[in-house]
């Protein structure tokens, strides 16, 4: 286990450094001088002012030097300074990260739970009306643009029915604490998490169904039937666990993608997370923030994958020693 962990950490470091370099170069490739934009926003642009800004942000040095400075900064936990917000990037991101983790985590849990549930039901009653309904719905949700669902659900659940708050993470100014606050946040979480999760619910439903059907055809399921194991127990004890493992692995690999979807969801639901932060940073050419968000996202993804791998190893005895 220790060697596995070390090996994974080694690999993760390589990947993350790669991601940093890739992003860094990408951003350097981009037309658009952050200093000029910053100056533009402030309404002034004499060359001296620009030079000052560039020097202040280290933009006047050659790209490899900048990259090196950035990398060595990252290694010491310094993700740089936001040009625009005049705040260290790390604190800016850390402030916003929990909201995104909460949102994507909830969406992830929601989509996985419902996806697996529906997938199992569809596979269990393969060919029935239930199966048709579930597969059709899964297809429809797979094919519907996320933001469309978001807008429609706000219209229905917030405006027409008034059940759920349409935006914000909590009731601002209410001053709730403890449980009351948790409940309040949960209430605000429902709409964004569900809309963000629906697409993945569809994905996991389809995956689970396919995986279940495949496992159902395997020899050991036949063995179980030959033993006289009741059908329900076969599904629960033999099929489900074997079928769900690949779904989990896939899901853990996809976890990062949720952050992409969060850009849209956070915009519509005014959710104070890093998806929105990233988008704003991009629009303002606040590159240190952009890089920082990518870096943090990559780290989160790596951690999620690592945890998933670890769980996989615990659940699946075959991998344990290999």
């Amino acid at each position: 286990m220790l060697s596995f962990t070390l090996q994974r950490i080694g690999k993760a470091v390589v990947v993350i450094i790669g991601v940093i370099i890739l992003n860094f170069l990408l951003i350097k490739l981009a037309p658009g001088d952050p200093a000029a934009i910053l100056a533009g926003e402030a309404g002034s642009g004499d060359p001296q002012y620009l030079e000052n800004l560039r020097a202040q942000f280290g933009l006047d040095r050659p790209v490899p030097v900048q990259l090196w400075n950035y990398l060595s900064g990252v290694l010491t936990g310094d993700l740089g300074f936001s040009y625009r917000n005049q705040v260290p990037v790390l604190s800016l991101i850390l402030e916003r990260l929990p909201a995104t983790l909460l949102l994507t985590g909830a969406a992830f849990a929601f989509s996985l739970a419902t996806g697996v549930l529906f997938g199992v039901m569809a596979a269990r009653y393969r060919g029935s009306a239930l199966d048709s309904i579930i597969t059709t719905l899964a297809l429809v949700f797979y094919a519907t643009p996320l933001f469309w669902i978001a807008l429609m659900s706000v219209l229905l659940f917030s405006i027409n029915l008034g059940w759920l708050p349409p935006f914000d993470m909590e009731t601002i100014g209410a001053g709730y604490t403890g449980w009351r606050r948790a409940l309040d946040i949960a209430h605000h979480l429902i709409l964004p998490a569900v809309t963000l999760g629906l697409f993945y619910t569809a994905v996991y439903t389809r995956l689970t169904r396919a995986s279940m059907l495949e496992v159902m055809g395997l020899d050991f399921v036949k063995t179980a039937r030959a033993k006289g194991v009741p059908n329900k127990r076969i599904i629960r004890r033999h099929v489900l666990r074997n079928a769900v493992l690949p779904v989990f692995t896939f899901a853990s690999m996809q976890a990062g993608q949720l952050v992409g979807g969060a850009i849209l969801t956070e915009t519509v639901f005014a959710w104070p997370g890093i998806g929105r932060l990233m988008f704003d940073a991009l629009m303002q050419r606040d590159y240190p923030v952009l890089l920082g968000v990518f870096l943090v996202t990559a780290i989160v993804v790596v951690i999620v994958n690592f945890i998933a791998d670890l769980l996989y190893r615990i659940v699946d005895p075959r991998i344990g020693i290999a």
Partner: protein, 553 residues
């Protein structure tokens, strides 16, 4: 008819139609046979003859889209076909148990062995945990597994194939059923393991007085254990009778054909074993080594498998050198290293005196045409997307032969291996297994090789087809005088076609010599064990197939 006299299990006129679009209308048709308590009934027949289908029908385990249309299955006088699923479920495992062919996939990979055995008792109403636990230990012990205490908490992947098959048997025995159905339980195993499992089944059957239906395609196995035999062909039962009679005095021509095809030692064995001229050395292998290292990473320990160790051998023109050994002994690796599909770690491969081992793939490519290979799986070794013609001419084209010449040669060789000229334009899936293997042979011959390596080239084929392909290989070998390395795990096959046989164990050759020596006077202890494990030794199929008809009529 009182139930005491009634057979334990009785199949009458059972037919299962296939949905439209299959190769035939019926999976099985009008099957009738009985099983008595305390006997072993062997069901034999070629692939697709309906053996498994019958067995599954007995268990009520047919796929949902297949339903028996006619006939009945009576267990202790009561019809099974009309039972509800719940009643059948009660019966399964308790009254009728089953063992499947593939030990590797028959166990749930995520459940411990003990839990899987435990489950049989649990679902049949044994609620006392400690009783079940004790029984699990007893069973594991009973089927001859070492150290049941730790084994019961192991996951299946840690067990060898033979051990897993024992677990499956233990599971089947858990509730002491009256009927055990075993569908080719030893086909996937080594001869030595097979012999042990056969022993085990026989012992249990005798001890418990069970009725056993044993499905197999190997007449050797039949000879070893059967009390009675049912022979099936294309979904029909063509012959039933006591083992003695079916084996030695088969009535139906199909049975006789099957028996005749069972591999056997050549009569003239040994006579020409040393006949090739001593100086026609084609290929000489010296101290060849290959060790697999896998799964190694920055911080992980690699898995090390010494698959080929210090192997030396010599292949002469016109000679067939057999390589035999258990699964995993390194036979295929040796073949692959010689043909440079896998790089070697050390040693020399002298082809016509030149060492080809150190050549780079690019440097070796022009020489490839002289050393060719015939593969094991006739289904997997032909590209399903290419026509047979394309498959054949690709080789010559890659070696600079003109398309027209290659095509002429292909047509010639198709005729040579006994295929119609029209085969040229067809796709592999339009051919049977035996025909495909002929295509594979033709492909190897397209390049006029001097050395031919055949890795399990007939193992995937039914005995009767196997016999034809072996004959074809023999003919070609005689005509073209090439040197052939014939890799097989079936000692009977090796005995039939090789001039010299090498026995491999764990990457090493433990014994090498003419078949007469290997089979009749094995020197090495391991060879002796192998020979002893060959099923059906006490029975000579040649004799049975020839004279017996007149005798019994």
């Amino acid at each position: 008819m009182s139930s005491a006299e009634a057979p334990l299990l009785s199949v009458k006129g059972l037919s299962i139609p296939l949905p439209p679009g299959f190769d035939r209308d019926y999976a099985i048709k009008d099957i009738t046979y009985d099983l008595d308590a305390g006997e072993i009934l062997c069901v034999v027949g070629e692939s697709g003859s309906g053996k498994s289908m019958t067995a599954n029908a007995l268990m009520g385990l047919l796929p949902s889209y297949l339903k028996p249309s006619d006939g009945s299955i009576e267990y202790k006088g009561r019809d099974l076909l009309s039972r509800s699923e719940e009643e059948l479920r009660e019966l399964r495992g308790r009254e009728i148990a089953m063992v499947f062919q593939e030990p590797l996939s028959a166990l749930n990979p995520l459940m411990t062995v003990g839990d899987q055995i435990d489950e049989v008792m649990l679902v049949h109403g044994e609620t006392d945990r400690s009783v079940r636990a004790r029984r699990v230990m007893d069973l594991l012990d009973y089927v001859g597994l070492p150290d049941p205490k730790t084994l019961k908490d192991s996951y299946p992947f840690r067990l060898s194939g033979g051990q897993r098959q024992r677990v499956v048997i233990a599971m089947a025995l858990a509730l002491e059923p009256s009927v055990l159905i075993a569908d080719e339980p030893t086909t996937a195993l080594d001869v030595t393991t097979q012999a042990q499992i056969l022993d085990l089944i026989k012992r249990i059957q005798q001890a418990k007085g069970m009725g056993v239906i044993f499905v197999t395609h190997d007449f050797g196995v039949v000879a070893d254990i059967a009390d009675r035999v049912v022979v099936m062909e294309k979904g029909l039962v063509v012959e039933t009778g006591p083992a003695e009679q079916v084996l030695n005095a088969p009535r139906h021509p199909y049975t006789r054909r099957l028996i005749k095809a069972v591999p056997h030692r050549r009569a003239e064995d040994g006579a020409d074993a040393s006949s090739p001229a001593a100086d026609d050395v084609l290929l000489e292998v010296r101290n060849l080594n290959k060790t697999y290292r896998s799964g190694g990473g920055l911080f992980a320990k690699p898995r090390i498998v010494p698959a080929v160790q210090k192997i030396s051998l010599t292949l002469r023109q016109g000679q067939t050198l057999g390589i035999v050994g258990e699964s995993g002994s390194g036979k295929s690796t040796l073949g692959r290293v010689i043909i440079k599909l896998t790089p070697s770690d050390g040693g020399q491969i002298l082809y016509n005196g030149k060492d080809i081992a150190p050549l780079s793939p690019a440097a070796f490519r022009p020489m490839r045409q002289k050393i060719q290979m015939i593969f094991q799986d006739p289904f997997a070794s032909l590209n399903p997307r290419q026509t047979v013609g394309r498959i054949l001419v690709d080789g010559p084209l890659a070696n600079g032969v003109s398309r027209a010449a290659a095509q002429r040669r292909a047509e010639e060789l198709l005729a040579r291996v006994g295929l119609d000229a029209s085969a040229y334009k067809r796709y592999p899936h339009e051919f049977s297994g035996g025909q495909r293997q002929r295509i594979g042979i033709a492909r190897a011959l397209m390049l006029d090789p001097e050395v031919l390596i055949a890795d399990e080239s007939v193992s995937a084929l039914d005995v009767s087809v196997q016999e034809q392909v072996l004959k074809l290989l023999k003919e070609i070998q005689d005509q073209l005088k090439l040197g052939m390395i014939f890799i097989t795990h079936d000692l009977r096959v090796a005995a039939q076609i090789c001039d010299s046989v090498a026995v491999m164990r764990r990457g090493e050759i433990v014994e090498m010599g003419p078949p007469s020596q290997i089979f009749d006077a094995p020197q090495h202890e391991y060879t002796q064990r192998l020979i002893a494990a060959i099923p059906g030794k006490g029975w000579d199929p040649q004799e049975a197939a020839q004279g017996s008809y007149e005798e019994t009529v």
